[in-house]
């Protein structure tokens, strides 16, 4: 409850000196950054620089060791995973985590249905929900595969379903952990189109990528991490051309 | 595989009330204080409980050591482990029926003997194959090797069948085996000792020097055994431990290897081994009937009196066995390359494979050793109380609890956890009937899982 109304308008996410240690390793070290509302922000950095850990901390998958996350104007010292949708936040996973042994259709439906325990017992799939799920599956091009089990899909298809599942949440902010890793060029184009569409719809996208071409193409702003600390942030070209970033990447 | 080790941590409980841990600590402290008060009231009785606890704890420690060895290598719960305890105990009963039941009819059965002969034959053939095949590959044709190994395996199986078929003369049937193994050990142990000082020495050269005396020592040991009919009981311990170990190894090599290639989760392995446990326990009932049976009296039936409390000689022996078992496992795991390989596999099996560790052989050995520890614990329990076809599951669970209490994957934790579990069980029933002690063991387990999931001594 620290941020002001004005801040709520401008910032989707803010972190204040958040930390996460794994044993002696400081994966995220007193990191403070801001992610403005709307537009696309990319997070880049060498391997082990804490990108995925940062996303896990923001989405409540890992508990914070210290610091505070401000989501949608609310200051949180403990981010609970099941409350993140209420704060207008959802995510995809680096190692695609679909619900493997249920169908693609159910994978989408499950995020569209009732969250409260008791009403969900009495809820059957409503036509409006079905339409939403169909729209999502068509948007990501997986409508034909709706009856396959998620585990039977190819890697690229799984990524698409996972993005579709995040889209179905229909929230403000999307954290996407390496949405392009391991995809064929054709699939990359498809994911790019989806992300551009999301951006055009006024959503906030935060994504991690190693592919600088895609980063240049998609992002409005960029955040560079190195060993769990903020190296640089701001407009894409100036940041990517700055000396320290080049140094960090070339490992000089 | 790392996620499996964190199963107990992971997610917060439903009512993750901030004070629960403190409350648990306070309650535990209260129980401990109450017990301390009771101990102050009647120290001799407390000492008695402590003795009983340590005596039972020795068995639990043995179970926990074998269990934690297997679990922290392959990271699934092998319930055959419980069946191994029952097999060990019933092996002794099978071989010493006439001593246990007096002149009653013998349970010796051709079918049982044949099954175990086949298992041992297969295991020996596989071991020979893995040792010899890479060395002989270039020199002999594959057919020759296969026939030779088949013959040797068959001979081992036949010998096992012979030993099992005539349990009354174990001292005679086993004396050649003892002579041979003592002779081999008499070469190998000095060789390893010498090797630490003279690394360049070759085994063949050493054997040429030490071979003759070793054979003489072996023959002398065999002669001694053959002349000692009273050694039958202790020989039957060794035989049934080895048999349980062989079955464990055979299960791993013949079943678990294939299953682990396909298994999505450790639960598949757990359920499959549950099936094995069910089948073996029912098989034991078919062969031996369901009623509890006594094992023949070993030594140490006299009770010793120390400061007003009694302890049976055999229980002291059991504690000694547990400590010896710990020492052997410590030497194996902490001082040899085998131990380093075991730990590497436990950390990451794929990487160990890549760096050239023969994981199948190492894990098979782990299963063999683990099953032997279980069988030994079963035998100790059998002598202390009685053998029962269903004893395996409860012993397995006790070993499992002890290793959780001590810290899964930690050898020191296993022995500490075993004794702690034994003592807690005994003190827990101070004010209750003795039948509650299984419930107390599990309450201890659930407390540990909830509040100290890493156990007393975490793995590294």
């Amino acid at each position: 409850m620290t941020s002001t109304r004005a801040g709520q308008q401008e910032l989707a996410l803010e972190t204040r000196e958040i930390s996460k240690h794994f044993g002696a390793v400081r994966a995220v070290d007193e990191l403070s950054l801001v992610i403005p509302r709307q537009g696309t922000t990319s997070i880049v950095g060498p391997n082990g620089s804490g990108k995925s850990t940062l996303v896990n901390l923001l989405s409540g998958v890992l508990p914070l060791d210290g610091g505070m996350v401000i989501i949608d104007g609310q200051g949180l010292r403990v981010v609970k995973a099941h409350e993140t949708p209420d704060h207008g936040l959802t995510r995809t996973f680096q190692e695609v985590r679909l619900f493997d042994q249920i169908t693609v259709w159910d994978n989408i439906m499950v995020v569209l249905t009732e969250r409260r325990l008791f009403p969900s017992l009495f809820e059957r799939a409503k036509p409006s929900t079905r339409q939403k799920a169909q729209a999502i599956l068509e948007q990501v091009g997986m409508w034909d595969k709706r009856d396959s089990l998620a585990q039977d899909l190819s890697y690229g298809q799984r990524k698409l379903v996972e993005i579709g599942r995040a889209l179905a949440m229909n929230v403000n902010t999307y954290l996407m952990d390496e949405p392009f890793a391991g995809l064929f060029p054709q699939m990359i184009e498809r994911v790019k189109d989806i992300m551009k569409q999301m951006r055009a719809d006024g959503h906030t996208i935060v994504f991690i990528s190693h592919n600088m071409e895609i980063v240049r193409e998609l992002s409005d702003r960029i955040i560079v991490l190195d060993s769990g600390t903020l190296l640089a942030a701001g407009e894409v070209e100036p940041v990517l051309n700055s000396e320290e970033v080049i140094e960090a990447y070339l490992g000089a | 595989m790392s996620s499996q080790r964190e199963t107990a941590r992971g997610f917060p409980a439903l009512f993750n009330i901030p004070g629960t841990r403190a409350l648990a600590l306070v309650l535990t402290a209260a129980v401990v204080a109450y017990l301390a008060w009771k101990i102050g009231q009647s120290p001799p009785q407390a000492l008695q409980f402590a003795f009983n606890g340590i005596a039972v704890g020795a068995v639990y420690a043995l179970l926990a050591m074998g269990f934690t060895l297997v679990y922290s290598t392959v990271w699934f719960f092998d319930l055959y482990y419980g069946a191994a305890a029952a097999l060990g105990a019933y092996g002794v009963f099978y071989l010493r029926t006439s001593e246990s039941l007096g002149s009653r009819a013998d349970v010796n059965s051709v079918y049982v003997n044949a099954i175990f002969a086949a298992v041992v034959g297969g295991v020996v053939a596989w071991v020979l194959y893995t040792i010899l095949h890479p060395r002989l590959r270039g020199r002999f044709s594959p057919n020759t090797i296969a026939v030779a190994i088949g013959l040797l395996g068959g001979a081992a199986g036949g010998y096992t069948g012979l030993v099992l078929a005539f349990p009354g003369i174990l001292h005679l049937t086993l004396s050649p085996a003892i002579a041979a193994s003592v002779a081999v050990l008499a070469v190998l142990v000095p060789y390893w000792a010498v090797q630490t000082f003279v690394p360049s020495i070759r085994l063949a050269r050493f054997a040429a020097i030490a071979g003759l005396p070793a054979v003489a020592v072996g023959a002398w040991c065999g002669y001694l055994t053959a002349g000692a009919p009273g050694a039958g009981l202790y020989l039957s311990w060794a035989v049934s431990c080895l048999l349980a170990g062989c079955v464990g190894l055979a299960l791993y090599r013949g079943l678990y290897v294939y299953m682990r290639e396909r298994a999505r989760s450790p639960l598949i392995m757990l359920v499959a081994s549950l099936g094995i446990l069910l089948a073996i326990a029912a098989f034991i009932v078919i062969v031996f009937e369901a009623a509890p049976r006594p094992l023949p009296t070993a030594f140490g039936s006299e009770t010793w009196k120390i400061a007003g409390a009694r302890i049976k000689g055999f229980n002291v022996f059991g504690i000694g066995v547990a400590l010896a078992g710990f020492a052997i496992l410590w030497l194996l795991l902490k001082q040899t390359s085998f131990g380093r390989a075991v730990r590497a596999i436990g950390d990451d099996e794929e990487v160990s494979k890549v760096v050239g560790i023969n994981t199948t052989v190492i894990i098979a050995a782990v299963f063999f050793i683990g099953s032997m520890y279980a069988a030994l614990a079963g035998i100790l329990t059998g002598h202390d109380t009685a053998v029962q076809p269903r004893m395996g599951l409860l012993l397995l669970l006790k070993g499992w609890i002890a290793s959780v209490v001590g810290g899964i994957g930690n050898l020191y934790g296993a022995i500490v956890g075993g004794f702690v579990l034994g003592v807690v069980e005994q003190f827990g029933i101070w004010d209750l009937a003795g039948e509650w002690k299984d419930a107390i063991a599990f309450i201890l387990l659930i407390l540990f899982l909830s509040f100290w999931p890493q156990g007393l001594l975490p793995r590294r």
Partner: protein, 351 residues
């Protein structure tokens, strides 16, 4: 799914084309397994006659209620519980104690509290008490997963058995409770085996309906998602722990009902009916029949009950070892299933 119209349509289409049907069914283990077990059941009924079939049918119905309820937890939610027999026992003891007849109990040596309540008033209490126990256990167990959960549930089964055995003032320990009343409505007394079978089948149908209602709702879909990835479903706004607790309690209540029926049917219970082994057998039934299908649990219970009768065909097998031989077969079946068919005969979820 029991009411899978698309599948029935497919099969109807196949019926018209014998060659295709043969090829289709050869591959279709589910179909053949179901046909075999059902055929076996029908053959058994004709062979043994109605009288014995009614008794076997009641045993089947009680096992089926248990396995359908356990499948909610094991198959749909992915929590491999080996402690279900504890809730069954709580139901049975509740029924035994609350219906016990004061006039009869006074004659016994160790007195237990007597109430003499009617069967149909007690049956809901069986469910409620089992449910309350499940809340207590579930709150503690909610944080465990995978094999640790299995171990903890072993613990619950053993603690429950210890309580039944040692809480003498209430359960009379190893002596057990005798002369448990059969249900009675007005003047109609369910003392015949057939009436009781029908009663059990009615409850089985109710339990199946409730289970079907649960698994076909949004709630059921969330359960399967929890089974697949508990952490991911939390990120999408569900409190997985609450869902797990809810299904755990519902399942336990069903087991409590089964326990009440069981106590009233046998009219005598002692702790030996609730040993860990029974629980292990129950889990085997659920896995054998098929995980995450209601039909599978019925099939598993049927196969389990009939297995014992099928054993009588084996030559040289003394009758007293049939129960043991069944366990050997069941154990080997489990191993084979885990190797080749980890979802069970007609399952929808591979362990």
């Amino acid at each position: 799914m029991p009411f899978d119209t698309q599948r029935i349509g497919e099969l109807a289409g196949l019926m018209r084309n014998p060659g295709e049907l043969a090829r289709h069914t050869r591959r279709n283990i589910e179909f053949w397994a179901s046909l075999l077990i059902l055929g076996w059941a029908i053959a058994f009924m004709f062979w043994q006659g109605a009288g014995f079939a009614v008794i076997i049918g009641t045993v089947f119905a009680i096992w089926a209620i248990l396995s359908v309820s356990l499948n909610l937890v094991v198959g749909f939610t992915g929590l491999l519980s080996v402690g279900h027999i504890g809730f069954f026992g709580i139901g049975a003891y509740t029924m035994a104690i609350l219906t016990s007849d004061p006039a009869y109990e006074q004659l016994r040596t160790e007195a237990i509290p007597t109430f003499g309540w009617p069967f149909f008033a007690v049956l809901p209490i069986c469910a409620v008490l089992a449910g309350l126990a499940a809340i207590l256990v579930g709150v503690v167990f909610n944080r465990f997963r995978d094999d640790i959960f299995v171990l903890a549930s072993f613990g619950f089964a053993i603690i429950a058995f210890n309580v039944f055995l040692n809480l003498r003032p209430v359960t009379r320990g190893a002596f057990g409770i005798h002369e448990i009343a059969r249900p009675q409505v007005g003047g109609w007394y369910f003392d015949g085996e057939l009436e009781f079978l029908l009663l059990c089948l009615v409850f089985l149908a109710v339990v199946m309906l409730i289970s079907w209602f649960i698994v076909s709702s949004s709630f059921g879909r969330v359960l399967t998602a929890i089974r697949e990835d508990e952490q991911a479903i939390e990120v999408f706004g569900y409190r997985a722990t609450q869902y797990k607790l809810a299904v755990w309690v519902i399942s336990a209540m069903m087991a409590g009902i089964a326990g009440g029926l069981f106590a009233s049917w046998t009219t005598f219970i002692d702790p030996n009916s609730f040993i860990l082994l029974e629980s292990v057998l129950l889990v085997s039934i659920v896995i054998l029949g098929g995980l995450a299908t209601i039909w599978g649990s019925l099939l598993g219970a049927m196969a389990f009950v009939l297995l014992e009768e099928g054993m009588r065909f084996i030559p040289f097998l003394p009758t007293e070892y049939i129960g043991q031989a069944r366990q050997v077969v069941l154990g080997i079946l489990l191993v084979l299933l885990m190797l080749f068919r980890p979802q069970g005969l007609v399952g929808r979820y591979r362990l």
